[in-house]
């Protein structure tokens, strides 16, 4: 039996079977002329900027641009075209396909009730300009993007990891990062609290939540009767119910019935 080949550049779960003749359908890209507002907006954008593509997908305008003009275009969209809120900002990892990240900015215009998505692609080692001066809300989103993908953002006021700890190794949302973490991630809390020398004492993580083991009296995996922690598996069970709940807590001392005990014998 041959070991199946797993590509290293994308370690996420994949479908185990795909029909050879199956071709995935595509969400249609509608021409911008179908919608009046988007048509006029696209025309205004095209007058000032050099954009790669513009189309409507599922009711929202998508504009593909060169990453160098992202800040200028967002300024233009905010001030001239009334797209005055940044609702979402993040990246998609296409390193395996083309060595690029796709960054998208999701904008909302409350006066026109329209949404626009601006997309651009950067290479792995390139940096992108911060849009923090256009929308203050980009502050944390860009930090999150840096944290999760390792995309460096130029001119950001405080580019630091946001969700993961500062001493974390690797960028979790890249396709090369496994779901259950690399070695540094798996031992992170043990290294930090007890030190590396305790790795062997505590043992590796149990990644199967349904794991049972009758000999494990230290952790959650035991399923038989309860024994003291760390005791051998076949030792006497703890009888929690042996305490007599009905017995009185205090016993009254009745002097009449009591007898003196001769202590001197």
């Amino acid at each position: 039996m041959m070991r199946p080949y797993r590509p290293k550049d994308n370690v996420q779960k994949k479908s185990y079977y795909t029909d050879r003749f199956w071709v995935a359908p595509k969400i249609p890209k509608i021409d911008v002329k179908e919608d009046e507002v988007f048509a006029s907006d696209t025309k205004k954008i095209k007058e000032k900027f050099d954009i790669k593509d513009a189309y409507i997908q599922r009711g929202q305008l998508v504009v593909e641009i060169d990453p160098k003009i992202n800040k200028d275009l967002l300024f233009f969209l905010r001030d001239e075209l009334e797209y005055d809120m940044l609702m979402e900002l993040s990246a998609i990892d296409y390193l395996a396909q083309s060595g690029e990240f796709e960054i998208f900015y999701q904008l909302l215009s409350m006066s026109k009730r329209k949404r626009v998505r601006v997309k651009c692609r950067i290479k792995e080692n390139e940096a992108i300009e911060s849009v923090n001066s256009v929308f203050r809300s980009a502050d944390w989103s860009e930090r999150e993007m840096y944290d999760m993908f390792g995309i460096v953002v130029n001119n950001h006021p405080y580019l630091k990891r946001l969700l993961m700890p500062d001493d974390w190794v690797g960028y979790p949302l890249r396709k090369t990062y496994p779901l259950q973490g690399d070695e540094a991630a798996q031992w992170y809390e043990i290294d930090k609290i007890f030190g590396k020398e305790y790795r062997e004492v505590v043992g590796p993580e149990m990644r199967d939540p349904a794991y049972i083991n009758e000999n494990d009296t230290n952790n959650f995996a035991r399923y038989k009767h309860e024994v003291p922690k760390g005791a051998p598996a076949d030792s006497e069970p703890i009888e929690i119910d042996s305490f007599n709940e009905d017995a009185p807590l205090v016993e009254t001392f009745d002097l009449k019935k009591s007898k003196f005990v001769n202590r001197d014998r």
Partner: protein, 410 residues
Amino acid sequence: MQQRNRLEPFFENLSFDREDNRMVINFGPQHPSAHGQLRLILELDGEKIVKAVPDIGYLHRGMEKMAENMIYNEFLPTTDRMDYIAATSNNYAFAFAVEKLLGIENEVPRRAKVIRTILLELNRIISHLFWLATHALDVGAMSVFLYCFREREYALDLIEDYCGARLTHSSVRIGGVPLDLPEGWLEKLSVYLNNLPRQIELYEGLLDENRIWRMRLENVGVIPPEMAKSWGCSGIMLRGSGIEWDIRKEEPYELYDELDFDIPVSTTCDSYGRYKLYMEEMRQSIRIIRQLIPMYKDTKPQLMARVPQYISAPKEDIMTQNYSLMQHFVLVTQGMRPPVGEVYVPTESPKGELGFFIRSEGEPYPYRLKVRAPSFWHTSILQDLLPGHYLADVVTIIGSTNIVFGEIDR
């Protein structure tokens, strides 16, 4: 003897005597009134806050990564744990986003839409009651906490009758709802709705003119409209700043375009105005559910969309018809394969705009799933909002932003 470990005493960011006479204090990450695991590093001048640096990520559980390794139906229960106070609104937002991706949002049968809208509004009531309870507890009104939890428990009983769970409902599926309403459920619901307005009056009677409540909330946490727009606020944080924007009205989904309800807006921009909005929204939710109850009766009993390519047939068909059984088998073992493309779908959750961005490559697993959680953006505003306030106001400002850490850190 203590267990030996490497952790040193934690005083490095606490310095009392500095040359500029400022103190840095550490708030959290385990603080009873931080509504979760928020860590704030505050720089104080006397009792005034000069600089605030929120630190999040203490509940980051890697949900977006999980989504990339799960088929669409498998991921649905995970969305419960994002905004765990109103779980159905997350389920719904995800299911709706996938329906948009598949292009089947018009196939959802009407009865499913009615049930979904009732559940969404019931969740809004539960969430707002919970907000009022915890916020009042932070400010010091213990009895409001107990009263609100009483009403919340009755609403949770209704939810439990419907789907069997109190907190993590998973009561919405992609393409419909799994169950019909149990017998007599709507009657119980109307009894609950008849009782609730009196209780809301009770809370308002306790709080509205309460001197402590007003002094701690009025002119505290003022967010001007420009600031709210620039920071991407949504929901009540936006309406509390005088901007009338509710996705239920502006970009209606489900049955909201047939329903008659108002969008309350406050122009005071402070915490007290937001508190009034929460109370008013609960009343509007009651009004919406009252309109939905008669709608239920004239719907057909179909609950799931009939799209055999993506969604399993009803159980009866699976048990009797071979083709339905085959479809069901493929959909369960391999998962549905949506078309290539991407969608961003916003919905109005109790906290604000909850959006799902899904990029599909035609595989059963989403290529990228990004959650636009409203609380994330409402937490980031704290770094601009807190400076200038007193230390005691931190708790009320965090309370009035109504943040939940499950969806901030995801």
